[in-house]
């Protein structure tokens, strides 16, 4: 069915609506004006300049406050403004809201809002038959169609027959609504994303107050823009309310989440909060040395706001200086952190190696993106695991922690800091573009219950010269953790020199002695390996009789868990474990892996964890890989799991 609306409320129904094929779960009888849904996936898509990220973010915010469980997937081009109207310039934001706990931003949208032909063309393939498609019909002129590469107008050539299409003249209705502000049409047109937001807010029964207040606050410096956005938003809402273009409005009730106080966060904000928290828990001032890089920059932005926490941020001249300054700060007794993405990790490798040799705490945060080289800066990938593991010369082991959901970035940051300060080692924390920009509700922790991760600086000499004289040996280790003392400048009597040259065990003096070098390599390796005793065993979401273990790491958690739910719903038996510690592995991992006849390792790379577990545990771990700039969908993982459950599947497969 196509519903065309023209200004003035001239509504023409052109075809009968095929409601039965809408992929929404209706719980009320057909024909009612307000339908309750248990979940819905909405995607806003438009030109990079159309404000789709803002629109999606606002919709997410009101949904969060309404109490829905949610998960988001922003997807935008690397170019700030690719040529307007082109396929390359399309920016999209997908949000999954539900009345129960969900794990992913949804495999496919139920509703697609397309602001121009290019947005339609790049997104339509993801839209299942029967889904709702709302288009800004004003944008479908010949020029825009040609720019998007449409030989004929898809709104009229019958190719959209399988969808419920609403053609809404968003641009002209926005212009009409904003007339009274006196804004020039060119400026007023920019408010059309608020028209779309108002319309979709009506459609899904979102409250309006919060958004209207937000507009006032956000655009307080420009009254005309604030007025235009407000009017556009209201016009969009009223369009839904009064024109009866849409047959139904929908409602998604609050989710029955674990009781608590909630907010909603993106992974990068949660990570920044985690670092601030870790700084307090470790009782060390936080110093961030960072160079802007997508998709990590938001952590620098966030931390630079919190100076009243004593947080110092340095936007360094390059990636190397960012990590160097962090290491210098660590030498001085601060919590030294650097944030980056893959290309930055390449550049920081030498300094991370120095930190391995100096045995100073350092937290290196890698928000992974598509590689190699510049790769796909705004797209997600998990292909830096082997780099984190091995990307340095010499024997240079580094503990690795991975975040598994946006909110978990908070805990992962604290864990990375805990390991770094306790073991005096650089730690690499892996997040990725999906976690960084994706959002989910977060049940706020009671800050009083967060762990004390503080350590002591050395204050006294720790060795005798044999003649009654006290000495300080910077490499005299703690017998349990094998960590060396952290003696910060300013401490009388502990003056010492450290460096990247090999050191003599104990004294820390430069040593080229062969046996000492091997000893030091083994000590550094044993120190990192020993952390396994100090991390929780890997937990298995098990099922009696399960023959297959799905082993994931990091951000694939939600998609794997959702896939496991769905295959179990079909009666298949499968277990799931998700790694948050990649080096060292949890001490029970080998035993867990050997418990299952089959192991499947899905990753957004070409097989990195699978390689590590095969090498480490000699298990026949099969891989399932995808490097398509997008997270796994639960559907494709469920299919892969089912395929591996059936007997013959022994070859690695790709999505």
């Amino acid at each position: 069915m196509t519903v065309a609306a023209r200004p003035g409320g001239n509504i023409v129904e052109t075809r009968e609506r095929n409601r039965g094929r809408i992929a929404l779960t209706d719980t009320r009888a057909a024909g009612q004006s307000l339908q309750e849904l248990d979940q819905v996936v909405i995607r806003f898509a438009g030109d990079s300049g159309d404000g789709m990220q803002l629109t999606g973010d606002r919709f997410t915010n009101v949904s969060a406050v309404l109490g829905n469980d949610l998960s988001t997937l922003p997807d935008f081009p690397a170019e700030i403004r690719a040529p307007a109207g082109t396929l390359a310039g399309v920016s999209a934001f997908q949000v999954h809201i539900s009345d129960h706990d969900i794990l992913t931003p949804g495999d496919a949208p139920n509703v697609l809002v397309a602001m121009n032909p290019a947005a339609l063309k790049t997104n339509i393939a993801d839209l299942p038959q029967g889904a709702i498609l709302i288009v800004n019909v004003d944008a479908f002129d010949d020029r825009a169609l040609a720019k998007a590469g449409y030989p004929a107008n898809p709104l009229t050539d019958g190719t959209l027959g399988g969808f419920t299409v609403y053609e809404v003249p968003m641009t002209s209705l926005t212009l009409e609504a904003c007339k009274e502000t006196g804004a020039k049409p060119r400026d007023a047109e920019r408010s059309k994303n608020f028209f779309a937001l108002g319309m979709v807010s009506w459609m899904f029964s979102r409250p309006t107050e919060a958004t209207l207040e937000w507009i006032e606050k956000r655009f307080s410096s420009n009254a005309m823009v604030a007025a235009a956005n407000t009017l556009a938003f209201k016009a969009g809402w009223n369009f839904g309310e009064t024109t009866e273009v849409f047959e139904n409005a929908y409602e998604v009730k609050p989710a029955k989440l674990t009781p608590g106080h909630y907010t909603h966060v993106t992974g990068n904000v949660a990570l920044a909060y985690g670092l601030v928290a870790a700084s307090q828990l470790a009782r060390l001032p936080l110093f961030l040395g960072s160079y802007p890089i997508t998709p990590a920059s938001d952590i620098l932005h966030e931390l630079s706001k919190h100076k009243n926490f004593g947080v110092k941020t340095l936007q360094a001249e390059d990636e190397i200086a960012g990590v160097g300054a962090a290491l210098g700060a660590a030498f001085g007794g601060s919590l030294g952190v650097t944030t980056t993405s893959g290309p930055g990790v390449d550049l920081k490798a030498e300094t991370i190696g120095l930190a391995v040799s100096l045995e100073l705490p350092l937290v290196v945060i890698d928000i992974q993106r598509g590689g190699p080289s510049t790769g796909l800066p705004t797209k997600t990938e998990q292909a830096d695991l082997l780099q984190a593991m091995y990307g340095r010369h010499g024997e240079a082991p580094v503990p690795i922690v991975a975040a598994i959901t946006p909110a978990h970035c908070f805990d992962a940051a604290i864990e990375a800091v805990r390991i770094a300060v306790k073991y005096r080692t650089p730690v690499i924390l892996l997040s990725d573009g999906y976690l960084a920009n994706g959002a989910e509700p977060w049940r706020l922790p009671d800050v009083e219950s967060l762990p004390d991760i503080s350590v002591s600086f050395a204050t006294e000499p720790n060795h005798s010269d044999g003649e009654g004289g006290a000495q300080f040996w910077p490499y005299l280790r703690d017998t349990e953790t094998l960590a060396r003392p952290w003696a910060v400048p300013g401490t009388p009597g502990l003056e010492h020199r450290i460096g990247g040259l090999e050191k003599e065990d104990g004294t820390g003096n430069v040593s080229y002695e062969a046996a000492n070098h091997e000893l030091m390599c083994k000590l550094r390796a044993a120190k990192v390996a020993g952390i396994a005793k100090d991390i929780p065993p890997v937990e298995v979401d098990d099922q009696p009789g399960a023959e297959l273990l799905v082993l994931g790491w990091g951000s694939t958690y939600g998609a794997i868990a959702a896939a496991v739910r769905s295959v179990r719903a079909r009666g298949e038996k499968v277990a799931h474990a998700q790694l948050m510690h990649l080096n060292p592995f949890p001490s029970n991992l080998g035993e867990v892996l050997r418990r299952y006849p089959k192991v499947l390792v899905p990753e957004l790379n070409l097989g990195q964890l699978s390689r590590l577990v095969r090498a480490e545990f000699l298990v026949d771990a099969q891989r399932f890989n995808k490097v398509q700039c997008q997270p796994f969908t639960a559907g494709e993982l469920a299919a892969a799991i089912t395929a591996h459950l059936s007997a013959g599947a022994t070859q690695g497969v790709s999505a």
């Binding site: 969060a64 040395g289 009243n308 160097g324 210098g328 030498f331 800050v447 400048p489």
Partner: protein
Amino acid sequence: MTDTAVPATTKKDWSSDQEVRWCPGCGDYSILTAVQMLMPELGVRREDVVFVSGIGCAARFPYYMNVYGMHAIHGRAPAIATGLALTRPDLDVWVVTGDGDSLSIGGNHLIHALRRNVNLTILLFNNQIYGLTKGQYSPTSEQGKVTKSTPFGSVDFPFNPVSLALGAEASFVARTHDMDRKHMMEVFRRAHQHRGSAFVEIYQNCNVFNDGAFAEITAKEKRPHNLIPLMHGEPIRFGPDGEKGVMLDGQGHARIVEVADVGEDRILVHDEARDDPGLAFMLSRLARGPHEPTPIGVFRAVERADYGSEMQRQLLGAQERQGPGDLAALLSSGATWDV
């Protein structure tokens, strides 16, 4: 930190127990001695002093100082020292580097430390050669330099470290040389006193791979002829009897002249505190290399807020306005709801 209670020390207190391993006759020895002799005069505590270095012969320096020290990686000492200085404004942070370390692989960090005016005392040992890697030309080697890596002579044009530092907005720029301990100590003392980045180029002889590179300037018998001492507030004169001087010509260029020819009044009076670095830059260009009359001394010393103090000011301001950080409040600073 200056403090009346700082215990009196001698050079020996500042020397570590490690054997000094530079080649016999290396200019680095005299620089080390100058620094170790200066330290007792600075009124600082050993535990508050940190030497950070990169890689190269000069970079071994921290091992020989009985203070806190870090021998880091090639070129990165200014970056590492920046993090230390910004988080520990109570410390006295020195960077020891060479011409390859800070003008080649670490050029970026040097210029940005200078531009930011981080509170660091940077000593650049310039020997115009790569010593530790056994004799390749460096970014300060003269054009045409024949070395192991340039058997037909080097093609690239050298950096002038003083010009570079001035161009990088350094607030303190000086040059000294390894044959004059008194001058070194005086320049190091001034550099140490300076709040912000203090940059000192030290002409340092590498007697193994580039012997005599600065002899035209630094050899006792040559100094009167080719070493132009810069002294704040004094006319810039040199020569055995002070018969030569520097003046600005009609085009505004600095030129070496016979004082008798132009008259004493025309001789340029050195002003290291000039806000405009133009004259200092011109002086740094007076010689095309250390084989003709070359100025030595403090080229520029101006007051400019240092990065660490400004950073601290923002922090204190935020704490005054917002109060100390409240973690629970931060976590719930966005939209929240209860379930």
